[in-house]
Amino acid sequence: MDPVGLLFFLVGFLIMAGIYAILCLALNVQWGYGGLFNAGIAGFFAVGAYTSALLTAAPAQTHLGGYELPVLVGIIAAAVTAGLTGWAVAKICIRLKSDYLAMASIGIAEILRMVIVNEDWLTNGSLGITNIPRPFDGLLQGREADILFLAFVWVIVAIVYLVCNRLYDSPWGRTLRAVRDNEDAARAVGKDVDSFRLQTFVIGAALMGVAGALSAHYFRFLSPEATEPLLITFLVWVMLMAGGSGNNKGAIVGALSVWAIWSLTEIVTNRLPAEFATRSSYIRMLLIGLLLQFVLQKYRSGLLPERSPGIAFDKDKDKTHG
């Protein structure tokens, strides 16, 4: 592979890894902070992707919208609609315990997918939406534009990371961990458990919507296939478990390393004889499945385990109050 090709392979890799990093951070807020088992990541991702695509794409007869709004407006709208969807889902099933929440969230994600496939007037069905713009379109041409988009994605990753870290250290995050680790105790000291869970779920869902929007802008095209639960929901869960749930750095490391495994195996399997190459994606799926089992049995706390912040005493204050 020539150096330029390698560079652009790396750029493409990092763009997708960045999008997955946002999904991982979002899931970390829901699962790592709040202990909420969301198995419908693909649903919120899809809502965000379609919102931003419909608002920013060129006008078309085949689907709703095409308002050619700025990309940033699309992304913010994606966060809002995905967050609202999350609010509705949470309102219904936040009181459900782990396994039941998993079932309910998959069910809702599947219903959303059915709507996307069947409601042609809204989404152009399986034919999808084309002509989705990228931010700063026209500034750079061709493959160089990818580098610009890479920077854009990772700026957003950085913002999301800082926000998530702030949330984790805040009193809000502390209460959330209390709810996660001992619901009854948190309730006993007067915390409104359901409302904390609802907030967590909405924040996570909104971030998933942002990731969905970014992927739609990256590919400039969006069809229901992009919201395949296997590629979104499963992979993100493996990433977070491998990286370390409860740790935001871990979430990003998990996204990078699992996506690296995924992309590198693609290079290897593409060099296999043709009859194997067509089945290469199944080998990768198998590897991811086995990796998940390995992590669950041997490295349950992930590459970077959760580290709760120490309790910081304000010493001067302590002295004055003696």
Binding site: S98, D99, G107, I108, E110, M114, M285, G289, L292, Q293
Partner: protein
């Protein structure tokens, strides 16, 4: 009226039988091992492909080759339980739920590696419907499915109420601590659970494969209605799951019957959504199900 019976009621009962066969296993596993087995649909798919291979080799009718698929599926779940689920048994069950997602993925990718991802059919060509009294025209498969579920219901009732293992299973499902104190061999009961769950899933997989065609997502696509059925019947109540499966299957098929106007009540492409919707509504308002199952 005849149209209602031929195109909605009988297919609904047949679909319900498939759901019921899967839901019994899900309900038993949830009751005894305390986790939602998300790989159950893929166990069905394994059973279907095992049977398909036996049909290719022997040329028998799929229902006669079924024992091969059953053995295949049972061996697969026993192995998976030993390697992937058992090491996590002392941990919070949510880890086993995550593991079962991974197992679903492993099963499906193995199936795609071995058999490919193209559609396969058990029997080529169009099957002639069975005609009764010139009025009832139903497919033979649907009658077979209904006959199988009746047989399974009788056998299951006998097993749960008359045999030692069946009674022990109910005991563990009702109160695991008490059952252990009473000296029941939990691992033996777990094994029995997997054998029954795996066998019924394999039968369901073959029936589903006969009804449409066989492809790697066959079982995964049915997992949510089956969970709905298990919850509707009450977790840990196998007979309830059977009933729940029939209800969910019927609701799904009858939802597209033109009840009010000449149009289908619900667009057929949203048929499965009715099952999901029922599940979500149940989870909110009556999570213990119709037969007062356990709540975890």
């Amino acid at each position: 009226m005849m149209e209602f019976i031929n195109f909605y009621l009988i297919p609904g009962l047949a679909l319900g039988s498939i759901y019921a066969l899967g839901a019994i296993g899900i309900s038993m596993i949830f009751g005894i091992l305390r986790f939602a087995h998300f790989a159950h649909g893929d166990v069905m798919t394994l059973g279907a492909y095992g049977t398909l291979t036996a049909v290719w080799v022997s040329g028998l009718h799929p229902l006669l080759a079924l024992p091969v698929g059953i053995v295949f599926a049972v061996l697969a779940v026993l192995a998976v339980d030993k390697v992937f689920y058992k090491p996590l048994r002392e941990l919070p069950t949510i880890y086993t739920v995550i593991a079962s997602f991974g197992v679903a993925l492993i099963f499906r990718s193995l199936i795609q590696l071995v058999w490919g991802s193209q559609n396969e059919v058990f029997i080529r060509g169009v099957q002639k419907p069975v005609v009764l009294f010139d009025l009832i025209r139903v497919s033979l498969l649907h009658l077979e499915a209904i006959a199988i579920i009746i047989g399974v219901a009788i056998a299951l009732h006998y097993f749960l109420s008359r045999t030692q293992t069946g009674r022990s299973m109910r005991a563990v499902s009702d109160n695991a601590e008490l059952a252990r104190v009473a000296g029941l061999d939990t691992e033996k009961i777990v094994r029995a659970t997997w054998i029954i769950g795996g066998s019924l899933a394999a039968i369901a997989g073959v029936l589903a494969g006969l009804d449409t065609n066989i492809q790697p997502n066959l079982g995964w696509n049915l997992i949510l209605p089956m969970f709905a059925a298990a919850i509707l019947g009450g977790i840990g109540k196998p007979m309830g799951a059977l009933l729940g499966g029939m209800v969910i299957g019927l609701v799904e098929e009858l939802s597209s019957y033109p009840w009010l106007t000449d149009e289908p009540l619900i667009n057929p492409s949203y048929k499965t959504a009715t099952a999901f919707l029922m599940m979500v509504i149940l989870l909110i308002f009556r999570p213990q199900g119709l037969l007062k199952g356990r709540l975890f």
